[in-house]
């Protein structure tokens, strides 16, 4: 069987609509290790299974979970956990000094002056470089001070809630924390172990209200360690919030989610 023939039969293979001989021929072709046809089968299976997702989800009765969990407990134990580690910026600098000059009598006075002038010029040059380094350090300190002020505001606020973000199917290893400073109407968001967004895309944060209205909260990327940190202002007129969510969207963000959910956190 050729690949073209195999792919002609894949749909019917999935639904069991081939004759036994056709079924065996497809199976043998796939067992022969054809990667393209194997990939086509995986895609066809996924597409067929996705038809089941076209239905609006229905919450099953609570007793169904109780029945199932009682059965699971009777068979095997279970467990779970959640990691956390913050990131912080850094700044560094260094300096080097040199100095020189010698006094000399008589005819060498000119040379001495020249040396002094040269030395002074060199000193001026060094001072210029030092000034630049000082400016850089001061900027770094200002950034650090601002961050410390933000963190201080966060830990001293009288109304703080925590929202744990869990990785969804697209990013099972990712996690996050949202510290909701209700006194100042801010979300401090910390993201961990997130894969970089696909080319041409970035991540977008959403406020999700109790009425399932999604309001954009800002876009961001992640660093080389898969971490991100952002602070967003919570609009005052949203009403009760139910979820924090992150999707992948085109650069610049969109007014309503179009991408897959990466992280979601329930607001208690």
């Amino acid at each position: 069987m050729t690949c073209e023939q195999c792919r002609e039969f894949l749909s019917a293979y999935l639904t069991g609509d081939l004759t036994p001989a056709e079924q065996e021929a497809v199976r043998a072709h796939l067992a022969g290790g054809c990667p393209e046809c194997a990939g086509a089968l995986v895609e066809a299976q996924a597409a067929f299974a996705m038809v089941g997702l076209s239905l609006e989800p229905l919450a099953p009765p609570a007793r169904a979970r109780d029945r199932l969990m009682a059965w699971v407990r009777a068979t095997q134990p279970r467990g779970g956990g959640l990691p956390i580690s913050p990131a912080s910026p850094a700044a560094a600098g260094g300096a080097e000094r040199r100095d020189g000059g010698k006094p000399w009598r008589g005819a060498l006075a000119v040379a001495a002056c020249l040396a002094l002038v040269a030395g002074a010029g060199w000193h001026m040059l060094q001072r210029g470089q030092h000034a630049q380094e000082i400016t850089t350090l001061q900027r770094g300190l200002a950034v650090r001070d601002a961050r410390l002020a933000q963190l201080q505001s966060l830990v001293t606020t009288s109304q703080l809630s925590l929202i744990a973000l869990g990785g969804q199917e697209a990013q099972p290893e990712a996690s996050g924390r949202v510290f909701w400073d209700k006194e100042n109407s801010r979300w401090h968001v910390f993201i961990f172990d997130m894969k970089p967004p696909p080319p041409g895309k970035e991540y977008e944060l959403w406020f999700v209200t109790a009425q399932e209205k999604k309001v954009p909260a800002g876009t961001f990327g992640v660093d080389a360690d898969g971490r991100a940190e952002l602070i967003v202002q919570v609009p005052p007129d949203l009403g009760p919030l139910a979820l924090a969510a992150i999707t992948d969207e085109p650069l610049g963000g969109v007014p309503q989610p179009t991408g897959a959910f990466q992280l979601i956190g329930k607001i208690e």
Binding site: A64, W71, P257, F261
Partner: protein
């Protein structure tokens, strides 16, 4: 298991209810599906597809098996079931829903419906009859009074288009 159940039970229950047509029986099938996944989950091979594909495949298979074994019961359409009690599951137990899973599933349902809506009506109808009713191509051809070869082609082309729509969506293309 609790995480898996919280994440996918609403989708699986909706599928079971649609196929089986009875809320109480759908609940039994739901538990059957997750218990099978729990005991045979080691057989899942990620190279052969995503976990959700596996879960939905198991759910469809178990639900169709259940329906076939209960053929003596009066079949209830999804609309009838919705009127009589399937949606009652939502209103009676909404407070026990996993809102995160519901949000994700609801968004995915919207996207899949949009992808299905892009199909030709004949393609969509034939695929739904195959998926939800478990009908063979020959049975679909008989019900729709179309040649068997036409139905095979319609389903094959419909699944190819559905695959492309889903792939385009996941790669960041625009929906229409």
């Amino acid at each position: 298991m609790e995480v898996l159940y919280n994440r996918h039970s609403a989708v699986v229950f909706a599928l079971c209810a649609r196929i089986v047509g009875d809320k109480a029986e759908a609940e039994d099938v739901l538990i059957d599906v997750f218990s099978q996944i729990w005991t045979r989950g080691g057989q899942f091979d990620p190279a052969r597809g995503a976990p959700l594909t596996y879960i939905l495949t198991v759910a469809r298979s178990r639900a169709l098996d259940h329906r076939r074994s209960r053929r003596a019961r009066d079949a209830m359409s999804l609309d009838a079931a919705s009127d009589s009690g399937v949606n009652a599951a939502v209103t009676d137990h909404a407070s026990s829903d996993e809102p995160v899973a519901r949000l994700v599933a609801s968004e995915e349902a919207h996207r899949v419906r949009a992808a299905l809506a892009q199909l030709e009506p004949a393609q969509r109808r034939a695929i739904e009859m195959s998926f939800f009713d478990g009908l063979s191509h020959a049975q679909i051809a008989a019900q729709l009074d179309r040649p068997l070869g036409t139905i095979k082609t319609v389903i094959r082309q419909g699944l190819i288009r559905l695959r492309e729509s889903i792939r385009i969506h996941r790669e960041g293309g625009a929906e229409t």
